[in-house]
């Protein structure tokens, strides 16, 4: 776990840094609230912040309020340091959104356990978040989580002026698999097909389960790569895959149909319009014989 330290006093700062490193934590060090906010708005994720209260510029209280006002995908646990006999009052800190207090000069053992409490809460939150966003059968994003992320990525792509693509995929004749081999085999097919989608998507793309046997893949910055060829490789891999059933070692062959749609940065289209066009392409792939990739019309 990465911990962000915010402390203007060099002695206390170094003490926190050395002690927390000794406990095995990765530590990022800043000396005031403004610096800390910059770090928190950057790409590196510190889920726990230990901040001094009184600092030049932005103080700990204001930093805490700022963090609480940020739109963050995960919780930031905030421990505020106060000095014995100082005017800092605990209620004010709690009101600003602090989770815990540590009185300076602090004892390293106490620090350790306070941080552990924070870590427990952060881990719990992450487990719940994972459960709430994952499709339990296949391990990919569930529909809601995929759509949320896709929406964010479309906004980002538009800001950055890059195109973004959506692949919509549907397993061919899936109902027959369930009817013929039973639902356990149906589940196995969904898992094996997901493996191929994951295998063929790049690290920064992401896969979600759209519905029963329908999957979605987001292909980011589709400028230098061709999303159609990614879909085509997925299609080929699925077609080539032998799925051996658990029950009687039968080998199944599955195919899937794909629709590919792209949202250009200059487009006014949102996610709904992109899905609609891509769905039409998928429909076309189904209607023209299945096991193929069809490109959505340009808007």
């Amino acid at each position: 776990m990465k911990i962000l330290i915010v402390e203007d006093d060099p002695v206390s700062r170094r003490l926190l840094e050395v002690t927390l490193s000794k406990f095995g934590y990765e530590v990022v060090v800043t000396s005031n609230g403004n610096e800390a906010l910059e770090v928190l708005q950057g790409p590196s994720v510190s889920s726990l912040v230990i901040s001094d209260w009184m600092m030049p510029g932005m103080d700990g209280l204001e930093l805490c309020r700022n963090i609480r006002g940020m739109k963050k995908s995960s919780y930031t646990y905030f421990i505020i340091l106060t000095a014995k006999g100082g005017k800092e009052d605990v209620i004010k800190g709690l009101d600003a959104g602090a989770d815990d207090f540590l009185i300076k000069p602090f004892n390293s053992e106490e620090l350790k356990y306070r941080v552990k409490i924070g870590e427990r809460i952060i881990n719990l939150e992450q487990r719940i978040l994972k459960l709430a966003t994952t499709d339990s059968l296949t391990g990919v994003l569930n529909r809601r989580a995929f759509m949320e992320r896709m929406n964010e990525e479309i906004q980002r792509a538009k800001r950055e002026g890059s195109p973004i693509s959506l692949i919509l995929m549907d397993i061919d004749h899936f109902k027959n698999v369930n009817d013929t081999y039973g639902h356990q085999t149906g589940d196995l097919v969904l898992q094996r097909v997901t493996d191929q989608l994951m295998d063929r998507s790049r690290a920064y793309d992401f896969v979600g389960r759209y519905g029963g046997e329908e999957f979605v893949i987001c292909v980011l910055s589709a400028e230098d790569i061709d999303p159609q060829s990614i879909a085509e490789r997925m299609r080929q891999n699925i077609e080539a895959q032998n799925i051996v059933t658990d029950q009687n070692n039968q080998t199944l062959h599955i195919t899937a149909s794909f629709g590919v749609g792209t949202c250009r940065p200059e487009s006014k289209d949102g996610l709904d319009a992109l899905i609609k066009r891509t769905d039409e392409a998928l429909y076309e792939a189904k209607n023209s014989g299945r096991n193929r990739v069809c490109l959505a019309r340009e808007e």
Binding site: D8, D9, P10, V11, R14, L15, T19, P105, F106, S108
Partner: protein, 120 residues
């Protein structure tokens, strides 16, 4: 080794060690940081007193209090705290005298820490 009451008033090694989990190396390391940083902290405080800037007096004294508190430095901590209160209340009449005391105590602390921690 027994410490005299005088030295205990400057700083309490046992207490300071306990706070860092008995790790003397940590204490030695932060002493380095302290020796480097206290002159700047003192001059910030001195300037603020000279300028009659009470909020900065409060904050700078508070920060120094935190620094010396790490070493359980009773005397310097109390003096820094008095300066912090003066800053908070905006009553700086006696701040200059209090500052001279703090400066002396902090230098004394630094020397005592160096002498003690470089032992053994």
């Amino acid at each position: 080794m027994a410490y005299s009451d005088d030295l205990l008033n400057i700083f309490d090694l046992d207490d300071a060690l306990e706070k860092v989990g008995g790790d003397r190396e940590i204490l030695e390391e932060i002493l380095e940081v302290f020796s480097e940083s206290y002159p700047d902290q003192l001059s910030e405080l001195k300037n603020a007193i000279g300028n009659g800037d009470a909020p900065i007096v409060e904050r700078a004294a508070h920060t120094l209090k935190g620094s010396v508190g790490t070493f359980s430095a009773k005397k310097a901590l109390e003096t820094a705290f008095r300066l912090e209160i003066m800053g908070r209340d905006g009553l700086l009449q006696e701040a200059a005298a209090e500052y001279s005391k703090l400066e002396q105590e902090v230098e004394e602390l630094d020397a005592a820490l160096r002498a003690t921690l470089s032992e053994s």
